[in-house]
Amino acid sequence: MSPLAILGVLSSAIFSGVSLLYITLGEVVDERSGIVNLGLEGVLLVSASSGFAVTVITGNPIMGVLSAMLIGGLMNMILGYLVIHRKANQLASGLALMFFGFGLSALIGKSFVGAKITSLPRIPFLGLSGLPKLYTSLFSFDILIYLSIPTAFLIWWLLFRTRWGLGVRAAGENADTTFASGRDPRLIRYQALFVGGLLAGLGAAHLSIAYTMNWTEYMTAGRGFIAIALVIFSRWHPLRAIVGALLFSGAVAFQLLLQSSGVHISPFLLDTLPYVLTLLVLIIWGGNRKHSAPASLGRVYQGSE
């Protein structure tokens, strides 16, 4: 097992994990405000396809990323309208959004399958440029990768150190108390959904524009659901999500490592590890309800009379 192989695996885990991290951070914000987005998979697909399309059309990957973010925010607004204004069931609305995303993304991306794009420029990691080309290319990361961990800290700061974040978390715990404190839980939830959508779009954009640099149907391959599991695994905390994202995407990379060193564990079983770990986390910590999910997660706020 050559050092090159290990590094290759690590590099791949980082690339893959970063988009997962952004997506997870977005869902953390959403769920902290009390809304679970089962349609995340659909949101990701639409953002990825439209971001890719814009990149092809404008030739500018930054435009692509920004438009993907915006589209992500808008898709989440659909969920917001249904769940907040129309007081619809969150699960059903999320699933409907998921199917919508399946269809819309296919439609958008159809003409762009196989197109080539100029991706985001990649910068070698911390002056490793002195090393042979092989190593440098593995560890040249685009700007989004460098920004990923700072973004996690930013989201942490936003949720725990700002007045807005306090309101978001309060809305997710108890909408009535939030209202009593002079805030509008519905408005807060819309805002949280939008921010979450921006982040989800960012993650999706990284996937199609910076990582795979192409578009195929269903290319997010369940990342939406992985992120939902990851949110639970990190117990709704942005910083723990970093560890989780690396762990989860590392599972894939880990398989390759094991294979090349002669150990045969089925990649399929390794793929289940993230979910099994999340279940364990739930069972161990879930009993003590106060340390787990936001108390109002999934509930429909009836509003004040």
């Binding site: 715990e173 009593a180 106060k290 340390h291 108390a295």
Partner: protein
């Protein structure tokens, strides 16, 4: 106790407040004056209207008539936010905190001038200023879920003080506090009073009122029974104001009292329960109910009545002690086992606690004993048999019931009748009746009471929990008083009177009397 400032006008004045909830007149032209630098106790039994009145002041409810004056000027308080603007704050019995947040976060949430980028140090400082001054120290970084109820209460008070309230309303604050915590609370209230805050204390506990209040207003059945300064108040006077009833013709119907050598229907020996959060723990409960006897339990709601019912029914586990039904040890067995042994339960809130709102009356009837009516191994239900049984009971009790209406659409009285019919249908041997006639109209009340008496005459044992002393005195063979999770008195109705009971219910004469 220092003299209240007699020449100052009240900071808040309530005039002619009237509020009706469907059939109940909760507040009947109530006038109340609240002064700065005073602790004003609002005393009364359950249903007297104290909570309602304060909720109107806090903007939770809107009064049907009357006005609220702030410094002599009428104001509208239509929501809690209006109340906050008027600098009125209320600490509810079920505290309004977010368990997953820290103390500091809970307080910060309600700070009117919280900065967009929060400065934890600054917030801590502000909290410390107030908490040290008034003796409300709590660990700021602790999660509220980790605090005791007493500490949570401190946080609620801090929250109000820091959000600039100057009239504090506390709803039964000592209900769940330990004695030393009560003392601490009174110290805090004293300090607040000295600094000019106006405090309203809603309570039913005599001793505390006399210890801590400057002014006392007693409410009874929605009206102001009297208002006096503390120095003029004695226990006797207060009990009289709280409980004076027009003692109508009480037909004390004793029925046949059995020898105490018959096997008790129910026996609780040394039963204790553990309460979570804001519940009450039962301590050292000894209880015997003989067949053909109604044992009444008097007490202000919130002193362990719900826990007592739940323990007997099997909804709540005993951490200590034994529960015997006809001599059989059925401690901590599930509800099913109780019901199979002839235990019936008539709860105080039939809609929420005993019936399925979307099902018809007929369907609800079958729920306590589905096995009896199942045919062909469960594949069909013999509704004709259900109906027949109901008809028999209905005739015996003299009710009328429409079997095909949906439970949700029944009035409170009719719903209670439905539950009574159901629970009496299979000749239960032990009936737990919890606030049987609360919120019922006169006719339903009479019918319900007659049903119990009938059951007693048929040899059943009845545990009657009620806050209606007249009802208890009329119906019970024996009477116990429940206070803070313990039985504090036992009498025959002929041996006691409303005043003695009133004393015990409000904790002013505490004697631990063991049963039997």
């Amino acid at each position: 106790m220092p003299n209240p400032l007699e020449n100052q006008p009240p900071i808040i004045a309530l005039r002619g407040i009237t509020k009706t909830f469907s059939t109940v007149l909760a507040n009947d032209h109530v006038d109340l004056d609240i002064f700065n630098a005073e602790v004003h106790a609002l005393l009364g039994e359950n249903g007297a209207g104290k909570s309602t009145l304060m909720k109107i002041l806090f903007g939770f409810y809107r009064s049907d008539a009357g006005e609220i004056l702030l410094n002599g000027n009428p104001i509208t308080v239509h929501s809690p936010r209006d109340a906050r603007t008027a600098r009125i704050g209320m600490v509810f019995q079920d505290l309004n905190l977010i368990p997953a947040f820290t103390v500091a976060e809970n307080i910060a949430l309600f700070l009117p001038d919280l900065k967009a980028i929060m400065n934890p140090k600054e917030i801590d400082q502000r909290i410390n200023e107030i908490s040290r001054h008034y003796g409300l120290e709590v660990n700021h970084q602790a999660l509220v879920s980790q605090l005791s109820i007493g500490e949570q209460q401190k946080v609620e008070i801090l929250k109000l003080l820091l959000s600039d309230a100057r009239l504090l309303i506390l709803d039964e604050p000592t209900r769940v506090l330990a004695p030393h915590e009560v003392k601490a609370l009174f110290n805090v209230l004293d300090n607040l009073r000295k600094d000019g805050y106006a405090i309203v204390l809603i309570t039913h506990k005599m001793k505390e009122v006399l210890e801590c209040a400057d002014r006392i207003t007693v409410l009874r059945r929605g009206k102001v029974a009297g208002s006096l300064l503390c120095e003029d108040a004695t226990e006797e006077k207060l009990v009289t104001l709280m409980f004076e009833k027009e003692l109508s013709e009480l037909k004390i119907n004793q029925g046949t009292t059995h020898e105490s050598t018959s096997m008790p229907v129910l026996e609780l020996r040394g039963v204790e329960t553990h309460a979570e959060g804001a519940g009450i723990s039962l301590l050292g409960i000894d209880l015997k109910i003989l067949p053909g006897e109604i044992v009444g339990v008097a007490g202000v709601s919130g002193n362990g009545q719900r826990e007592l019912c739940d323990v007997v029914l099997g909804m709540e586990t005993c951490i200590k002690g034994m529960k015997l039904l006809h001599g059989q040890d059925l401690t901590n067995l599930p509800v099913q086992a109780m019901r199979r042994n002839g235990v019936s339960f008539i709860p105080e809130n039939p809609l929420m606690m005993a019936s399925v709102p979307f099902m018809t009356v007929l369907e609800n009837m079958a729920l306590t004993d589905t096995g009896r009516y199942a045919r062909r191994g469960g594949f069909s239900m013999d509704w004709a048999a259900v109906k027949a049984d109901i008809d028999k009971t209905v005739q015996r009790l003299g009710f009328t019931l429409n079997l095909y209406t949906i439970a949700k659409s029944l009035s409170g009285g009719n719903l209670q009748r439905m539950v009574i019919v159901r629970e009496m249908t299979h000749d239960p041997r032990l009936i737990i009746a919890s606030y049987l006639t609360r919120g019922l109209d006169v006719q339903s009340t009479i019918a319900a009471r007659q049903a119990l008496v009938q059951a007693r005459e048929g040899g059943a044992g009845v545990l009657l929990i009620s806050e209606d002393l007249e009802e208890l005195l009329t119906l019970s063979n024996r009477l116990l008083v429940l206070y803070e999770g313990r039985f504090v008195g036992e009498f025959k109705p002929s041996e006691t009177d409303i005043y003695e009971l009133g004393h015990l219910m409000t904790g002013s004469k505490v004697e631990h009397v063991s049963n039997g």
